[in-house]
C-alpha cells in the first residue's frame, strides 16, 4: 500500500510537470496563469496523499492553506492586466 | 543516494543558478528573482541539514531559522521591488547596465 501511494504521488507529480510546458509555451499570459491554477489543485492532491503515506496529518493543514490561497495569484494577474490596459495612461508620477 | 542528499544538492544547484543570474542579468527584476532563488537554495541546504538526523525526527533549530528566513525574504523582496519602482520613476531605468545609462 505504501508503494501504491508513492506511485500515485509520482504520477500526479508527472501530470503537474507536464503542465509546466504550458507555462513555458503560453502563448497568452492567461494560459500561463491557467497552468499556475493546475498547480494548486494537483499540489493539494499530492499533499493529501503524502499526508496519508508519511502518517503526518499536519500535511493536511498545508493542503488546507494551499486551497485557501489557490486563487490569489490568478486574481493578482487579472487585476494587474486590467489596470495596465490601456498602457501608460497616467504613469507620469 | 538518499532523498535528503538529492534535495540538498538541488539547493546547492539553485544557489549557483541564482548567483550566476544575479551577476550576469542586467534587469533589476531579474536580479530580485535571482536573490529569491539564492535564498531558496540556502533554505534547502539548511532544511537538508535539519533532515539528516538518524532517528527520523528533524532538527528543529535549522527549521526555525528557515521559517523566519522565508518571512524576512518576502519583506526584503517587497523592499527591493519598491526600490526598483522608485528608481524607475526617478531615472526611467530598470536595468543596471554599466555603459548605456540613458
Amino acid at each position: 500500500m505504501q508503494y501504491f501511494y508513492f506511485a500515485l504521488i509520482l504520477f500526479l507529480l508527472l501530470t503537474l510537470v507536464a503542465g509546466l510546458w504550458r507555462i513555458r509555451r503560453g502563448p497568452t499570459p492567461a494560459d500561463r496563469m491557467l497552468a499556475a491554477q493546475l498547480f494548486g489543485t494537483t499540489a493539494a492532491a499530492i499533499l493529501l496523499v503524502l499526508a496519508e503515506v508519511s502518517d503526518a496529518p499536519a500535511l493536511r493543514d498545508v493542503a488546507l492553506v494551499l486551497a485557501l490561497l489557490a486563487a490569489i495569484t490568478v486574481t493578482a494577474f487579472t487585476r494587474r492586466a486590467r489596470i495596465s490596459l490601456p498602457p501608460g495612461d497616467d504613469d507620469a508620477r | 543516494m538518499s532523498s535528503v542528499l538529492v534535495l540538498a544538492l538541488t539547493g546547492a544547484g539553485l544557489t549557483l543558478l541564482g548567483l550566476h543570474a544575479l551577476i550576469v542579468k542586467a534587469h533589476l527584476l531579474r536580479k530580485i528573482l535571482a536573490l529569491n532563488v539564492i535564498s531558496s537554495g540556502i533554505f534547502l541546504l539548511l532544511a537538508g541539514l535539519a533532515a539528516r538526523t538518524p532517528g527520523g525526527e528533524p532538527d528543529p533549530v535549522p527549521q526555525a531559522m528557515v521559517l523566519t528566513g522565508i518571512v524576512v525574504a518576502v519583506a526584503a523582496t517587497a523592499l527591493a521591488l519598491a526600490l526598483l519602482l522608485a528608481l524607475r520613476s526617478a531615472t526611467g531605468r530598470t536595468r543596471l547596465d554599466d555603459d548605456n545609462g540613458q
Binding site: T28, A30, T42, A44, A45, L48, R60, A67, A70, A71 | -
Partner: protein, 97 residues
C-alpha cells in the same frame, strides 16, 4: 473491501488528473483549456479526497478533507471565471473548429 474501494477511487482520480493535463496540453485555445483543466482536475481531486476519506483516522479528518475539496472548487470556479473574462476583454477570440 474498504481498502480496495479506496484504491479504485484513487486510481479514478489519477485518471482525471491525467485527462486534465492532456486537455491543457492538447486543446486549441485558452477557453477550451480552461474547460478541460478546471472540470477534470476538480473531479480528480474529489475522487482522490473520497478515496482518502475511506482511510482517514477520524471524523474530523474526513471533514477537513471535504472542506479542502470545497475550497478548491470555489477557488477554481472563481479563477476560471476571472481568466476567461480577462481573455475575452483582451480580445482573444474563441477557437472555431
Amino acid at each position: 473491501m474498504l481498502a480496495s474501494l479506496s484504491v479504485v477511487l484513487l486510481l479514478a482520480g489519477a485518471a482525471f488528473f491525467l485527462g486534465g493535463s492532456v486537455g491543457m496540453l492538447r486543446f486549441p485555445d485558452v477557453y477550451t483549456r480552461l474547460h478541460a483543466l478546471t472540470k477534470a482536475d476538480n473531479l480528480g481531486l474529489g475522487l482522490v479526497v473520497l478515496g482518502l476519506m475511506l482511510q482517514a483516522e477520524s471524523l474530523a479528518a474526513v471533514g477537513k478533507l471535504f472542506v479542502i475539496w470545497l475550497l478548491l472548487l470555489a477557488a477554481s470556479a472563481t479563477a476560471s471565471q476571472l481568466v476567461a473574462s480577462w481573455a475575452q476583454e483582451n480580445g482573444f477570440a474563441p477557437w472555431r473548429g
